[in-house]
Structure formats: structure tokens, C-alpha cells
Subunit: 385 residues, 2 copies
């Protein structure tokens, strides 16, 4: 095999955007499929095709001009992908048989449970009586999720009475209900896997959500003993193997008071909890995803510093980020700023900052100072020191 594979990315959000730099350095030709030419990756990519991820003709048109198809998100209907796979003209990575576990939370729970991987207690809810039973069996409120289409807190509701999910049940026909896990903290484990099965794990990280959106990540997770870290990495690698994932897999986990972990969500792509690796690991997750889906040998995941911290830039009071980014760079030359080129809306993911060093608390303080300056404008820190 000589020529490097041409890669098509379905979707043109910030994840596709952050693949562009590594694709350039590895000389992997990359085309993004954007539903709108103003999308985050589309405004900067060298090769852009316009079309929607949920229009089969658009996905097929992209597939005809690349060797490998991969994804910015998990919302491409697997039926399209299954038909593409049967043509044999393009490699779909991750394949539809893996991807369905990141698309459909019921399929994911059923499969992980069959495989013996640790999950919160869960119920497949097909009617109001199932919800009543689940509430009776569970000690406390339930987390109810739409099986498909949820992200960043959308499609998730906490209920104490069955009626509180009756509208969703009517609309979706079935739901996933889970015990609300009284977790100590959330962890996340990233693993990359190639078609032949080679895989490599990243250090397990600690993540903090805000309003259902990833907000802050510390790598490695503080005070996680080496045995636990290894067990979690093995769990993530086992899930990647069991589900035949190709590319990056993020396993989001709850750590309980008993120091056990339970799988919360799966994402089969670079994930927000892995952004730290762009600046904090030998191989960032975007390069790693490309290497995996291109079936290139995987890169090392050693950290470049004892600790790395990532804080998301979620839309705040500043109408644009350039002024605040300038102030943040001025205040701290060690902070790395990543902007996604998106217009500001409150709470929207607009970018992230990372900083590497030794002490997690100090790094978090630096990252949050930069965050505040960027999302609330250059005067934010003077007003709210």
C-alpha cells in the first residue's frame, strides 16, 4: 500500500475542524461534509463538500471520493452506512455495527450488560407501567433518556414520578431509565483502536460537567491509584474490542463511593474529555483518530507534563472572543487557546483552553482565569478578580 488513504469526515463541527491540523502534518487528504459552508470546519478546510449527514445521497457522494469515512458526531443513520459497507468501495470507521452503540443508548446498555461490563441499574421502558415498576424497584429518582439523538444534556431528564416522562414515552415509544448514580466524580477513559485490533489507552481523566456539558478536565485523574487506572484502561480497551470500534472511543464513567466505576456514555470519535491531549500528550486524540481510521500505527500516549488541564469556553457575556483571547494570552503565555470559529451564544461550546504543568489546582486556576477573560471579555477579571 502506497498512497495515504483519503479521509472523509461526515459533519463539520469543531471535532472535524481539529482533525485538520494533524491531517495536514500527516499528509492525509481530508474532506469534510458540511450541511452549511459556515460550519466550524467548513470555513477553514481545504476540501469541503456540502450536504447533510442525514441525506443518504450526500453521504454517498462523499464516500465516492474518499477511501475511509469517519465522523464528527454519531448521528448518521446506520442504514446508510450498512449499505455503503456492502458496496465495499469505502471503509466506514467506526463501522455501523460499532456506531449503533454510541447512537442508541438502549442497544448500548443491553450489549454492555450482556458483556458483563459495569453499568448503572437500568430498565427498558416501553410503557408507563415499566416506568412505575422501575421507580418502585429503584431507590430514588430515575434518569430517563431518549434512546437516540441526545447530546450535551439534551434527551436526559431526572424524574420521580412516571407521569414526568409520559410525553417522551408517547413521542419516542421507548425510553431508557437508569438509576441516578450517587457518584463521587466522573471519569473518562480514551482508547484508540485500529481495524486489526491494535489499541492504545490514554491516562484516565477526571471530568466535571456543567448543565450537562463537559466543562473541565484534569489529566490524569487526581488521586486515582495505579491499579484503578489500569483496571479502567483495560475496561475501555475491552469495550473497544468487544464492540469492534475503530478510531477513538471515549468511555465516560461514574466513580462511586465504593471506588467502583460504572459506564455512563460511549462516544466513538474524539471527545471533549480528550481535548487536553492536543497539548498534553505525545499524540493528540485528533491525530490518533486519523491514524486509527487510516489504519496507521498508533502514536504514543505519554503525557508531556505531569498534569494537563482543559477548560471549555462556553458562550458568556462577551459578544466575540478575540478581545478576551488577547487578554488571556497577555496574562498567561503558557495557556493554549483553541477557538472553533463559531458565533457566540450563551452556553455554546466555542473553544477550549489547556495548560500543562505540575499542580492540578494551580493549572485549574490558570485555565479558569483564561476562560473568564475569553468568554466574558478582557475586563472580566478586573471586575471579578
Amino acid at each position: 500500500m502506497t498512497a495515504p488513504p483519503r479521509i472523509g469526515v461526515v459533519g463539520a463541527g469543531q471535532l472535524a475542524r481539529m482533525m485538520l491540523g494533524p491531517a495536514i502534518e500527516l499528509d492525509l487528504p481530508l474532506t469534510v461534509l458540511a450541511s452549511d459552508p459556515a460550519e466550524s470546519a467548513a470555513v477553514v478546510a481545504g476540501r469541503v463538500r456540502t450536504g447533510r449527514h442525514d441525506e443518504e445521497s450526500a453521504v454517498r457522494a462523499l464516500a465516492t471520493e474518499v477511501d475511509v469515512l469517519t465522523f464528527d458526531h454519531e448521528h448518521v443513520p446506520t442504514a446508510f452506512l450498512e449499505r455503503l459497507v456492502t458496496t465495499g468501495d469505502v471503509q466506514v470507521r467506526p463501522g455501523p455495527g460499532a456506531l449503533v452503540h454510541a447512537q442508541d443508548k438502549l442497544v448500548m446498555r443491553r450489549r454492555l450488560t450482556e458483556l458483563g461490563h459495569p453499568c448503572p441499574r437500568w430498565w427498558h421502558v416501553r410503557g408507563i407501567e415499566d416506568l412505575d415498576r422501575a421507580l418502585a424497584e429503584n431507590d430514588g429518582p430515575l434518569v430517563v433518556k431518549t434512546p437516540r439523538g441526545g447530546y450535551d444534556g439534551h434527551g436526559v431528564r431526572i424524574i420521580e414520578r412516571a407521569e414526568d416522562a409520559a410525553d417522551w414515552l408517547e413521542h419516542h415509544g421507548e425510553l431508557l431509565a437508569e438509576q441516578k448514580v450517587p457518584f463521587l466524580r466522573e471519569l473518562s477513559a480514551q482508547v484508540a483502536r485500529r481495524p486489526g485490533g491494535q489499541s492504545i489507552t490514554y491516562p484516565v481523566v477526571q471530568s466535571v460537567q456543567r448543565d450537562g456539558v463537559c466543562y473541565e478536565v484534569v489529566a490524569p485523574a487526581p488521586d486515582l491509584d495505579p491499579d484503578a487506572q489500569q483496571r479502567i484502561q483495560q475496561l475501555a480497551a475491552a469495550i473497544a474490542e468487544d464492540l469492534d470500534v475503530v478510531g477513538m472511543l471515549a468511555v465516560e464513567l461514574f466513580e462511586t463511593a465504593g471506588r467502583e466505576v460504572l459506564v455512563n456514555e460511549l462516544a466513538m470519535r474524539p471527545h471533549n474529555t480528550g481535548h487536553w491531549s492536543m497539548d498534553g500528550a505525545v499524540t493528540g486524540q485528533f491525530e490518533q483518530h486519523l491514524r486509527a481510521v487510516a489504519d496507521l500505527p498508533l502514536g504514543g500516549t505519554d503525557m508531556l507534563a505531569p498534569c494537563a488541564v482543559m477548560v471549555n469556553l462556553l458562550g458568556g457575556s462577551a459578544p466575540e472572543l478575540a478581545s478576551g483571547a488577547r487578554a488571556a494570552m497577555q496574562a498567561d503565555p503558557g495557556v493554549k487557546v483553541h477557538l472553533y470559529g463559531k458565533s457566540v451564544r450563551p452556553g455554546r461550546k466555542l473553544g477550549h483552553v489547556t495548560v500543562v504543568g505540575k499542580d492540578p489546582e494551580q493549572l485549574l486556576a490558570r485555565a479558569h482565569r483564561a476562560e473568564k477573560r475569553i468568554i466574558d471579555g478582557p475586563d472580566a477579571m478586573e471586575e471579578n478578580p
Copy 2:
């Protein structure tokens, strides 16, 4: 100031190409001016304008659509740039008054000497009798250089008799002659400088040339004592200040047996001797150049490991690099591969590898093993272990 400045890069070689990733992350809109759409940066950039660097209309057309003009190389006629500066419509960084010192080696030698910065002994040669005099005054062979247009060993000749440069003298009218410095090794100092004068230096590196082309770099330069390092950094910063450089400046130096340094060449752009910083420093030189020319606060230059090594990929016996790159990645997951998307010709700069860690000798061995696999093909190491 709110919107980030739009940046135009004259030239579309690998230096422009390596600016693309950082420009995306910083959300700085970047357009490259390519004489051919197949050039290294043109094939991957989102915004490309076609036109030659030595056609004033092409440079002006780029200037009309950007806020800041910068360069992939130093061969743009300064007369064009001076006329652009007088319009006031675009910032030219570095400006023509600085850039001329990287274009014209006679102007550079004269200016550095006036400023008292250490240079090899040199002569301005306007006729054969000047060469005879220089040869008589100098103890040993002379290095003769065409004042303009040289790069990577082109435009440099070592002579022992005046007749050996007679053809050049006739063609160019004047030449620069320099003593051939009996150096211990070559060093290089990178410094970034903003329009207002803020500057920051990188650790001084050791470089090895092969056939006049940068081949191998070790950062920081081994066995360079802290005082010498600081003196050299101060020298580089002083040159940047004295010449009013904006952007990255590389000062290539000879280190003599007496541990003195003499300035060899200047480059006012990201330079091959600074490529290690992409993977080995908090802020890589391509991001730093963009920050400087966009007048953003400069980034930290701390190293991410005690040592970083860079080895160039110069065209070898393999007709393409993808197979060898795959083998190199397989053999060493810690090596970072950067490919420029250029067709293979013997000796041509096609990419580079970097590796970071502790021991320079071990890192060099790893980098050269990767280099051999990539430029001579995957079987190279088995044949020549």
C-alpha cells in the same frame, strides 16, 4: 479591536503549510499566495490565491483581502512591499526595512558590523582585484556568496583563487566574500518579536547541515553553558530589535574554538532550525510567528521535555514516503512525523521528524532510524541495520 486580523502569506511552501494548523486553532483567517495550486500549502489550505511572489499585481491582490501580509520565504522584492506600506492598507510584517537584511547578505553584513554584532571577517567584492585582496588578507579559503537569491547551499561557493568566482562576479556585479570560519559547530537562536517590541527567545539549538541543507537539530544545544545561552539569546533579541523584525527571526551562528559566536545567516520567518518547537515547546514557532505578525501576545517558549530532536526528511531512494512513514510509526510510537505533501526528488526537503525526551544521543538515534525508514522505504532498516 475585535475581529482577529486576516493574514496573507506570500508563498505556499512547507512553512506556509505548517502555519495552517495553528491559524485554525487561533481562529486567524489565513490566505496563501501560491504560484502553483499544487504547492505544499496550496493543496491543503482553505483559502488560496494563485499568483507569483515576484509579480507586484499578485502581491497587491492578496494585500487587498487581508490585514497583515507575511512570508513563506524572503524573496519578495522589497520595492513592492515599500509601495504597499505607503498605502497604509495592509501591515507588512516583517516590513521591507527589516526584510532586506534577510534578502541581501551584503546589506546584512554591513548593518550587523555597524551595530557591533559579531560577524566573520568579510569583504564587499566589486571586482576581481577585491577578491585578490580578500584572498591575500584572509588566511585560507574564502566563502563567496551571491548577495541575493541564495538558499540551502545555493549561491555559496568556497574558493581559493579569484578566478573561481569570476563568472559570478560578472553575472552579479558584486559579491560577498567571508572568511571560512573554522567552527566547532553551528548554533541557531530563534526569537519572536511583536510590532511594539515585545520579544521572546527560544532555547538556543545546535544544528548540523548536510550539503548546505539543515539536516539535524538538537534543542537545547548540548553542553552550552547557561551564560553563553543567555548571551546568544540576548544577541538574537538585540538583532530583532535593531532591525525592527516582526515575526520569527532565526539567527544562525558559528561557534568557534574560543567559544565565541559569529552570525552566519538571518531568516525572518519560521526556520528549519525551529521545527522542533512544534512538538517540543509550549508554543511552536508557526503559532508564534502568527501571534507576532497578528500583534497578539507571544506564547511561552518553555520546553515540554529536557531535550527535543528534529531530523529533516531529504529525498532518498523511496519513490514515495507513505510506506516508510507507516514503518517508522510502527517501529517508534513516540516519533512525530511531519510530511509536506511534496513529490520526491533526491535531497529535496519533504518533511521532518521530531522526538522529545531526555538523552540527546538516544533521541538522535531514534530520529535517524525513523528518517531512514521514511526516505529509503520500509525495508531500509532491515537492509542497513
